[in-house]
């Protein structure tokens, strides 16, 4: 049994959907009859709409339920083109896709600014507007009576027989799902997941949060437009009744049921909903109740939809057959067991850059978190930033990364002033960071997490991700090789294929370091990278940090572990109550009286500064 499974798994995964697609394509040869072909046509059209939802909802994490409006935009574009004598189906499909894209972009921009509810509601609103807009342009759209002046479609100058629409629909669906699958498997797909986990993380690897969201939302509109054009040509009739709220809910239910974060789940979900829709009228009365129940059950019980169940099943069989976790080709020789010390990997020289912070100030209301703070971190050095809780360390990091706007002062990275740049622009200048609480998207392998750090290096366009040309393959190979190097450096190479979110804290911290490093940053900010690590892990971390420094990167270490700081840092900056208390080499800091008092809490009798400071209440801001 398991041998059979092993044999099945040797077949590349794309073969199965391709085989099913081919089967559906040649189905008419078996004479299935009108009912079945009609069902398949409608299911595939719905599946196109649903797959758009899967991109925007499942992958990009944007709850947009306006797919019905984009579907309508596509259908009416095709219908009006056809009525005007432009019967070429290819032209209509392309135009419909573009029209849907335009609707998606125009309505997505305002909704995306606020995220979840706003987008859900603006897109939901869009669906309610369809009949109004159709009525307003009654002359072109036929109003609520429908558009019935469409001409028979042609393809490459030849008129299409009614039966031929079946082939057109199946082929469009096959092409679209191939495109969809390639986009999802590319770094753009991973980028969506990173964004879904945390916008902060996404911008810190150099992604523009807004643009990535908009891209996901807009791409999701395109297949809905295709579907609309196909629907219009299937019946040569367009009516606003096909694009109601009922339809929108049905599409959402199909997406949730099939599994929003899946490619082929859309087809499955669509077939269930379509089957439900088609049951003669006495059953249709219950359809809203069913859709609602699907949404409820799908949301509560079936977190990944049917596709998620299938995936878990496959994973289980793989494990039983010993096929998982896979190892990368190179890792087999590594020989390390359980995340030991860093391997002797060559870390190529990194072109570091100095980080200069000059008289920066930041206040939150009346709380002056930072006042006139200046420091300089040189490339090839570890600059440690220490200070008690609430002294402004994390605020400073957030200012450097652009998550806060500073009130005064200047920050430059390798000589370039960051001014008011947004976080992703600063990331692109070569600043990268780790987080106090590691941010790792769920459901992504360790290797992909590292690769997500390379989002800005070797840009891969959507088109090349879809076509998978030689350039795409070369970059992908390079990505994998780099990820493996970095993982070996931090001692995680043996976990290459494991789901990253399941790792223990220490390994997740190391993984964050690998992700930050894979981009060859000029400046690396480590935000309490050692907290929660055991002694062996701290040692590994220290060794890794030394090698990063020797490679030429400017490392800023925010840390509470004083011993680690003393052993690692070339320079130490001590912050207290929002200002620089002391700065110097580890020896100087270790012997600085005020630091001993303020930070280490060693009060020496007769110590003048300590008495003086005692008059002011220490500010403690909430973490």
């Amino acid at each position: 049994m398991l041998q059979l499974w092993t044999a099945v798994r040797k077949v590349p995964t794309w073969v199965f959907p391709a085989a099913i697609g081919l089967f559906v394509l040649v189905l008419p040869l078996l004479g299935p009859g009108y009912e079945l072909t009609r069902q398949i046509e409608l299911t595939l059209i719905l599946a196109l709409v649903v797959s758009g939802l899967n991109i925007s909802l499942g992958y990009a994490g944007q709850l947009a339920i306006g797919q019905a409006a984009m579907y309508a935009a596509g259908a009416y574009t095709a219908g009006m083109l056809s009525s005007a004598g432009h019967t070429d189906l290819l032209l209509q499909i392309v135009a419909a896709g573009l029209a849907a894209l335009a609707v998606g972009i125009l309505t997505g921009i305002p909704g995306l600014r606020l995220g979840s509810w706003s987008l859900a509601m603006t897109s939901f609103f869009l669906v309610l507007l369809v009949p109004d807009i159709v009525d307003i342009f009654e002359e072109d759209t036929g109003g609520h009576l429908g558009l019935s002046t469409m001409l028979n479609p042609t393809l490459f100058g030849r008129s299409l027989a009614p039966d031929a629409m079946y082939y057109v629909i199946v082929i469009v669906a096959i092409i679209w799902f191939a495109v969809f699958r390639n986009v999802v498997a590319s770094r753009h797909g991973i980028a969506f997941q990173v964004l879904k986990q945390s916008p902060v993380l996404a911008s810190s690897v150099g992604m523009s949060v807004f643009r990535t969201k908009l891209t996901g939302y807009a791409i999701g509109a395109v297949p809905a437009g295709f579907g609309g054009a196909l629907l219009a040509n299937l019946d040569l009739f367009v009516t606003p009744e096909a694009f109601t709220f009922h339809m929108a809910t049905g599409a959402l239910a199909a997406s949730i049921l099939g599994g929003s974060m899946s490619v082929y789940g859309a087809v499955f979900g669509a077939s269930i909903i379509q089957f439900n829709n088609d049951q003669s009228s006495n059953f249709a009365e219950y359809s809203l109740v069913f859709f609602g129940a699907f949404l409820l059950i799908g949301g509560v019980l079936l977190r990944g939809g049917v596709a998620g169940l299938l995936r878990t099943g496959i994973r289980r069989l793989d494990r039983a057959a010993g096929l998982w976790p896979r190892r990368p080709a190179g890792a087999a020789g590594g020989g390390e067991a359980g995340g030991g010390a860093a391997d002797a990997v060559d870390l190529p020289p990194i072109e570091g850059g100095a980080l200069e912070v000059d008289a920066v100030a930041k206040a939150f209301g009346g709380n002056r978190a930072l006042r006139e703070v200046s420091l300089r971190a040189e490339p090839g050095q570890v600059t440690a930033l220490i200070g008690p809780n609430g002294s402004g360390k994390t605020t400073l990091l957030n200012l450097v990364c652009g998550f806060y706007r500073r009130d005064a002062g200047r920050i430059t990275v390798a000589g370039t002033a960051i001014d008011g740049a947004s976080p992703h622009r600063i990331a692109r200048l070569g600043v990268t960071r780790t987080f106090q609480t590691p941010l790792i998207p769920p459901g992504v392998s360790v290797a992909e997490v590292v690769i997500s750090g390379r989002y800005t290096s070797d840009e891969v366009g959507f088109l090349s991700a879809v076509l998978r040309g030689p350039k795409f393959r070369r970059i992908r190979r390079h990505d994998l090789a780099r990820a493996e190097d970095m993982l070996r450096l931090v001692g995680l190479a043996h976990l290459f294929d494991t789901e990253a979110a399941t790792l223990p804290l220490g390994q997740r911290r190391m993984l964050e370091v690998a992700r930050a490093l894979v981009r060859e940053p000029k400046v690396l900010l480590l935000d309490e990278a050692a907290s929660g690590l055991d002694e062996a892990e701290v040692e590994t971390l220290a060794a890794v940090i030394r090698r990063i420094r020797d490679a030429g990167c400017a490392v800023i270490l925010v840390e509470h572990n004083f011993g680690l700081v003393l052993s690692l840092a070339d320079r130490i900056v001590v912050l207290a109550r929002g200002a620089v208390l002391a700065e110097g080499t580890p020896e100087e800091i270790e012997n600085d009286v005020r630091v001993r008092d303020e930070y280490l809490g060693i009060v020496e009798p007769g110590d003048a500064p300590a008495v003086e400071e005692a008059g002011t209440l220490p500010e403690r801001t909430a973490k």
């Binding site: 994490g61 709850l63 339920i65 309505t107 921009i109 305002p110 909704g111 600014r113 606020l114 979840s116 509810w117 706003s118 859900a120 509601m121 603006t122 939901f124 609103f125 869009l126 309610l128 507007l129 109004d132 807009i133 009525d135 307003i136 916008p199 902060v200 709220f245 809910t249 959402l252 239910a253 949730i256 009365e285 219950y286 359809s287 809203l288 109740v289 069913f290 859709f291 609602g292 129940a293 699907f294 949404l295 409820l296 059950i297 799908g298 949301g299 509560v300 939150f364 994390t394 990091l397 957030n398 990364c401 998550f403 806060y404 987080f435 106090q436």
Partner: protein, 285 residues
């Protein structure tokens, strides 16, 4: 004047939906998509109470409140509690709302039903404008409700507990607040109010299954204009939409009412994404 009255009373309907969203939002930071559908059920129950059972007003109101509160409690149990993240709650509450719409269609059909109002339907003339008693009642009800809720959340222990829970659930638990119970209670109270609101809006909007979707949207726009969590904001937002709709319908045609509200929503989101009374949050990491 007549136009203004019509706009204000329609706005009061939207404001009531916004208030419903706000209570749940303040209590649990989640968004109850099914709020408008609950009110729709309230309107239907009121109709049944008056027309089918011929009950007195007090009994009708009590019936509507009880039915909707029970539905609301069920929703909290099956659509909110088992789901932890707010994104999925949007989907499950939408699912619950869809079920309610479907059930309402099965029970009451798809034709609009005229819900009677206890103070009659004789047209009043105030300051030169003509207005139905129910319209006056709606505006008064919405304003009174907002004032009462604001008083409760600022001055009373129970209200403060709700606010505490919304700010920091763990800290609230440590202060001895039963967070689960309170969130549940907030839902049940929303249900009671929802029933009452349904009874109030029914005479104005008619009871019809498609009411839910339209109200859900407009209520949301009211909230977006006013700012999430702001009671007065929701009220003002509701009135603003009502007035815009009435004026647009009068001077441009009824095809343009939804479109104009949509444009209004987009403008607000573009210019002031947090709404008129919303607050900005800076800390991200």
């Amino acid at each position: 004047m007549t136009l203004i009255y019509a706009g204000l009373s329609l706005g009061a309907v939207y404001a009531l939906v916004a208030i419903g969203y706000n209570i749940v939002f303040i209590a649990s930071h989640s968004f109850n998509f099914a709020q408008a559908q609950l009110m729709m059920i309230g309107a239907f129950v009121t109709y049944t109470g008056y027309v089918t059972f011929k009950l007195p007003t007090v009994a009708v109101l009590a019936l509507a409140m009880v039915v909707v509160a029970v539905l609301s409690a069920i929703e909290e149990r099956i659509a909110i509690r088992p789901v932890s993240d707010h994104q999925t709650q949007l989907i499950t509450t939408l699912g619950f709302g869809t079920i309610l719409t479907g059930v309402a269609q099965l029970i009451w059909g798809t034709q609009p039903l005229q819900v009677p109002f206890f103070a009659g339907a004789e047209v009043l003339t105030i300051l030169g404008g003509r207005v139905f008693p129910v319209e006056v009642a709606l505006v008064v009800f919405a304003v009174a409700l907002v004032v009462a809720i604001t008083f409760y959340t600022r001055r009373r222990m129970g209200g403060l507990a709700v606010v505490a829970m919304s700010q920091d659930e763990e800290a609230a638990t440590l202060r001895g607040i039963d967070v689960r119970m309170l969130a549940f209670a907030a839902f049940a109270v929303t249900g009671v109010l929802g029933g009452l609101m349904g009874a109030a809006i029914g005479p104005k909007t008619f009871a019809v299954a498609s009411l839910g979707a339209a109200l859900a949207i407009k209520g949301f726009v009211a909230l977006a204009i006013g700012g999430f969590g702001s009671m007065y904001g929701g009220l003002l937002g509701g009135f603003a939409i009502g007035l815009v709709e009435q004026y647009v319908a009068r001077y441009l045609g009824s095809n343009f009412t939804n479109l104009s509200v949509f444009v209004l929503l987009l403008l607000v989101l573009m210019i002031r994404p947090t709404g008129l009374f919303g607050r900005v949050q800076e800390r991200t990491v």
